[in-house]
Symmetry: C2
Subunit: 431 residues, 2 copies
Amino acid sequence: MPKPFRIGIAGLGTVGTGLVRIVQEHAALLDARAGRPFEIMAVSARDRKRDRGVDLSAYRWVDDAQELASDPEIDAVVELIGGSEGLALDIVRTALANGKHVITANKALLAHHGFELASLAEEQGVSLAYEAAVAGGIPIIKAMREGFAANQIKAVYGILNGTCNYILTEMRETGRSFTAVLEDAQAQGYAEADPAFDVDGIDAGHKLCLLASLAFGVKPDFDALKIKGIRHIKVEDIAYATELGYRIKLLGIARRGDDGRIVQLMEPCLVPTGSPLGAVEGVYNAVYVEGDFVETSLLTGKGAGERPTASAVVADVMDLARQIRVPTFGVPAQELEQAAWAVTGETRSHYYLRLHVLDRPGVIADVSAILRDLNISISSLMQRGRDPGQPVPVVLLSHETCHADMEAACEKIAALACSVEEPCLIRIEEL
Amino acid sequence: MPKPFRIGIAGLGTVGTGLVRIVQEHAALLDARAGRPFEIMAVSARDRKRDRGVDLSAYRWVDDAQELASDPEIDAVVELIGGSEGLALDIVRTALANGKHVITANKALLAHHGFELASLAEEQGVSLAYEAAVAGGIPIIKAMREGFAANQIKAVYGILNGTCNYILTEMRETGRSFTAVLEDAQAQGYAEADPAFDVDGIDAGHKLCLLASLAFGVKPDFDALKIKGIRHIKVEDIAYATELGYRIKLLGIARRGDDGRIVQLMEPCLVPTGSPLGAVEGVYNAVYVEGDFVETSLLTGKGAGERPTASAVVADVMDLARQIRVPTFGVPAQELEQAAWAVTGETRSHYYLRLHVLDRPGVIADVSAILRDLNISISSLMQRGRDPGQPVPVVLLSHETCHADMEAACEKIAALACSVEEPCLIRIEEL
């Protein structure tokens, strides 16, 4: 009888509860697959009394989750508390320092402290596993570290936040505003009461940092990430995008340029409707990987929710029980480089630019002159409706242009007397 | 300096050449990721003189590939010869018996001898790895064995042959016949001179057997697989499918029924145009997995070609160099069950049925009577064009019906005096 693999669970929210459920429902299946049983030795959460719909009576209850990190009966601590600092960070640090494996779903923690924690894990000869931290229903960490290990990765693109993708999809399908859809999503439990982490792109940004690290062998660096969320996206922009053959997606981009510098961006982008990422709708997440040998591969699945996320946590537990050990970010931590990040202003793209300007003679000429002076070349222009003296929308698509020039153009156009609203500028990614 | 991982390559066709290319181009990257160097010790192929576009001078040439299987300098034999019997089988058996790991891209070998070889590998404590055998550009073996290891798998659906998918896509887009598109594909090197393995569904069938084994913990059983290829698919059927909101795909289905029996089918199916699999076009492969916790996950990538397939071979090499060991079919071989396969005739589906019948009064009544007598209920009927006394197409969609009844109906309709051509029956999968 092989030695059981013993875990302690810190945090019993939806994911922790899902983890317990899998262990209880699939004990025999998991034992057969891992070649050894695994056991929940102890659990810890803030509120012992809360009914979580699962029977916890077989597990030792620990009031102070910190104790799990030094519990001699535990091989691996599953950290499901969340947050980049405080208790989660303390537990993970202590567990690793005590020679215990750590499994976490905590993207914020790794985006901020990934390099330190990966180094600590390696010094101690243990694993820091985090499949559940990025797109739970997609085995993307494993794919990046193992499945695509033969490749020099050229780029990774991701739709990494289900709440944002759901909101954008709903806005397109129903024509309701961001605010209305968000309120609805909150009422239905699809969005948090405080939606900032989701809709401002922070959650997705954390995930992108981890993918960029895996793709390019660099230290995760959340501070180097430029983030724009989806609050400013209007239904009219979604409608114009649709008309032009695009969807608007909150897109994470990690791409190595010819000069070796890495572009790392999280912002709404126009992607072609029929493209692999354009077709990913609703709460689904997707990651699109370009490697020099595998060419392109797209992985799609649910990004959140109790069951898919718990499935990813258990995949990590199984890996550890099977003694599968891979460096945290694909190469030994000491070989992770400090990335040379591209300056966002220097990135080049096609752009979508939507203005609200007063319908008066000479307005298009003024706008065109600004663009010409910045060497921005227009591939199409569309002016909808005529309403002399009143605001009308004007939509422009640019040829490939430097980002800083587009921003300068936006500033100048906003300053025109005819301009009645901040222009809306969105990058186009022709995937 | 850790011990290098040493491989011998048997077979230097496109995949073998690609493997050499990756090792030469990415030596430093692979070393860093694996934590140890890996070395090609020896190579073998039929024709030593052929120019393969890569420099083989650094590797020992072995005329008899069998020698690799007992070469004391080799840790793993990479079998890229192909074929389910003969040399490939001999080499794999001998290598495993000699305690060497085997990496293979040979789906035919595993579909026919997978259980025997997996058992032998386990007895010897070595791995039998085959990521490249199924959809090279998609890390699906790893996803099934490791990424989704927490799940009871409910179903796996796959588009597993790029040649077929390319032909069907071309037929739809250009309106050219199967034969014309196939000839073109052969001329361009996308299809083999003898296309039977591809277009008759055998290659895809081999792959499906492996996925079914992984999904359900059963012995791979190619003989239990019902296969229908794509030769009989006509442009008009593709056009009607499009009009009805479907694509025709050669679809592999492995699904466990409520009675525990497993449906294993490889046949052209109608899938909704906007569904995840409906959107997979051209040479791409895709696998759609339903698990009880992960819910649904779709993985897409190139299924063939030198570079994606070699990428998958190297992923296996990296796994072995990293000492990642997982049972061949996800659970120890002795725990693989003999599946209870569902009888195809008893499977239930919606169906597409296209007839060519003489345009005469009473024909629809005759057809309808046959269907009624078999308890087949029609959800829609469409008759195109009117040409009294001449053959016209009639397209019917059925409600959920037993397969055997549909086949019986086809037989009876074919026997009607008004029937001028074998009816075309295609399963509908509403994914």
